[in-house]
């Protein structure tokens, strides 16, 4: 007997000696692979090489079947075949009573009962659960369909999908369906299909879908439970929480050309750097063109490389800190500023501040499923799916950061006025800034109000340029450029209201008010911009 068999055999033997209902195993799932073959799944903690008799009732007469497994390839799944010409029929409810002889063979060794597990109900009624998108990075919405009965791929071409708007109104959806072939009777693959909704997808975050035409191998038409709604995974509620973020905005005013602005953030983790840190190459830009009379746009581009890592802290309300030290190149759209800085950032995580609609719904689902939290005392519901859990419409979250920016310009440089011949030479200087930051968002239904403030403090004065329109000795208007020192507090803040356009909220209309000044040139900004936001 190998060690691999010995350990579970001992575990099972001990559980039997303790005279408790722990063997042969706890059945947690089943799949109907064909009209004559069924797979059942044990909680995989204790299973190895079971072989026992069972009785299947619910048909014309009770049938004795031999359940055996697991087959090495399909760990923790066991199989049984119906004897002779018997076949499972559709729309029935069968009952499988395990180890009816009171004995089982585990790892080649006979074991005696009693085995007190309740009988397993095997339903041949066609039903299918629809899982939330497992890949929402794609524009198309992709769902996994799970059926306990293997699906018939030949019927996929006849399938139709609808969004149920009301009992009397259904909208057809463009979609593709790929039924996964379950090669070699693999129960993990049986009953699975990938459903891709093309185009804009359902119109609501909370919707019902109806499917017709797709059949299972017993001939039953696969349907979704009409009572169950489909909840879509939401987009990150704020720029701080997003890995990829793009905001395109427009501003206009009397007597001015329309202006545009782009606010971009891209922060992928590219590789593990060891000790829990990951290499990251963040790029951010907040730039614009054609400023409207009296309203300056932000003008900051940074690109860097560094590492980022989360350090969990077990200190009550303070739950952890993410450190992101990096080298960064900071410039403006014209390239007149070229600063090389060390950017050290620490994001602080506090208990209770992560409560977006998405987070609250997920916690509510887990609490209901496990009978805990506000559902303590209620019966746990292990079969609950996230779609059926109690949902909320209001959420909030807040992020706190402490940071520092230290460095200097690469070279002394000459800055030309935006028009005319004037220029000014800006000598190099030391950059030493403290950068605390708070980013908060409040969600209600499809509306999101975000607020972020960066009360930056310049420890050493920085050389920046300013421009004013002046009259020369001939009375002609010209642009005068000069250098000043920026120091002390240079706060910057944004407040934004956005309306989600798509069901998942990756696309939104937004209006943003920006106030304050940003490096590298610390021009004063006081503007309202309206546009579209894309975040993932």
């Amino acid at each position: 007997m190998t060690i691999r068999w010995l350990v579970p055999a001992i575990l099972v033997s001990v559980s039997i000696l303790a005279a408790q209902p722990g063997a042969p195993c706890k059945i947690i799932d089943y799949r109907i692979l064909s009209p004559t073959r069924v797979a059942i799944k044990c909680d995989s903690v204790q299973i190895d090489n079971f072989d026992f008799q069972a009785t299947l009732s619910g048909g014309a007469q009770p049938l004795a079947v031999r359940v055996h497994g697991p087959r090495e390839k399909f760990d923790s799944w066991m199989l049984f075949d119906l004897p002779g010409p018997q076949q499972l029929e559709g729309n029935k409810s069968y009952t499988l009573q395990l180890a009816t002889t009171g004995t089982a063979v585990v790892a080649g060794q006979p074991l005696s009962g009693p085995f007190a597990h309740p009988p397993l109900t095997i339903s041949t009624k066609p039903d299918t659960a629809l899982a939330v998108p497992f890949d929402h990075r794609r524009y198309e919405m992709v769902y996994e369909m799970h059926s306990k009965i293997a699906l018939d791929p030949a019927t996929a071409a006849k399938a139709q999908l609808y969004e149920v708007v009301s009992p009397a109104l259904r909208h057809g959806l463009k979609f593709e369906i790929a039924v996964r072939p379950h090669q070699g009777d693999d129960p993990e693959q049986a009953g699975l299909a990938e459903l891709t909704i093309l185009g804009g997808g359902p119109a609501s975050l909370d919707t019902r879908l109806a499917l017709t035409g797709l059949r299972n191998i017993l001939g039953g038409e696969v349907t979704f439970d009409a009572r169950k709604t489909l909840k879509l995974d939401g987009a990150p509620p704020s720029k701080a929480a997003a890995n990829a973020y793009l905001k395109l905005t427009n501003q206009a005013g009397p007597g001015s050309k329309p202006g545009w602005a782009v606010d971009l953030k891209f922060q992928p983790d590219v590789a593990a750097a060891g000790h829990g840190f990951f290499l990251t190459i963040p790029v951010t830009a907040d730039i614009g063109q054609n400023k409207v009379q009296g309203a300056q746009v932000a003008d900051k581009i940074t690109a860097g490389m560094g590492v980022t890592g989360f350090v969990p802290i077990d200190a009550g309300q303070f739950q952890g800190v993410r450190f992101t030290p990096q080298g960064s190149f900071e410039t403006n759209r014209e390239g007149t500023k070229q600063n090389l800085i060390f950017d050290g950032d620490a994001q602080l995580f506090f208990a209770g501040l992560l409560a977006s609609v998405k987070d609250r719904n997920f916690r509510s689902y887990v609490d209901q499923k496990n009978g805990r939290g506000k559902f303590k005392g209620a019966k746990a519901n292990p079969e609950l799916t996230s779609q059926d859990a109690e949902q909320v419409k209001v959420g909030f979250q807040a992020h706190f950061f402490l940071g520092t920016e230290d460095g200097r310009p690469l070279t002394q440089h000459t800055v030309n006025a935006s028009s005319g011949n004037e220029s000014v030479v800006v000598p190099t200087y030391t950059i030493a800034r403290l950068r605390p930051k708070v980013d908060a968002s409040l969600e209600f239904w499809r509306l999101t109000l975000t607020f972020n403030a960066t009360p930056r403090f310049l420890i050493t004065p920085e050389n920046v340029t300013r421009q004013v329109n002046e009259l020369d000795s001939t009375g002609k208007l010209f642009v005068h450029i000069y250098m000043v020192g920026a120091s002390g507090w240079r706060p910057y803040g944004e407040t934004s209201l956005s309306v989600k356009l798509d069901a998942a909220g990756h696309y939104a209309l937004c209006s943003t008010y920006k106030l304050g000044s940003q490096p590298p040139n610390f021009d004063k900004i006081n503007t309202v911009q309206t546009g579209i936001t894309i975040s993932f």
């Binding site: 998108p133 890949d135 990075r137 000790h275 890592g309 989360f310 501040l353």
Partner: protein, 92 residues
């Protein structure tokens, strides 16, 4: 100790709770164990990967090359069982 036991031990220390069964999704374990300030993706996942990395430096060693995107929702790793399998399949 088996790979499975070691992974379960790492998960229990990571969530400061107890793994109920191997089919429980890691994200549900994280939510169940009262982490209301740290998101599963990617802070919690990164700390889990770091803890696995530390554990499997010891014999019987495994080379853990997982990143946050290997876990749900962007990747395929969802349950305790999935993680055990991923570690099992890692290079020794």
């Amino acid at each position: 100790m088996s790979i499975q036991s070691r992974v379960v031990q790492v998960i229990n220390a990571w969530c400061r709770g107890v793994t109920m069964n191997l089919t429980e999704p890691l994200e549900e374990i994280w939510a169940r164990t009262d982490h209301t300030g740290v998101p599963f993706q990617k802070e919690a996942v990164e700390s889990l990967v770091a803890a696995l990395h530390d554990e499997f430096q010891k014999p019987e060693t495994r080379t853990i090359i997982l990143v946050a995107d290997d876990f749900k929702p962007n990747g395929n790793l969802n349950t305790v069982d999935d993680l055990v399998q991923a570690v099992n399949e890692s290079r020794a």
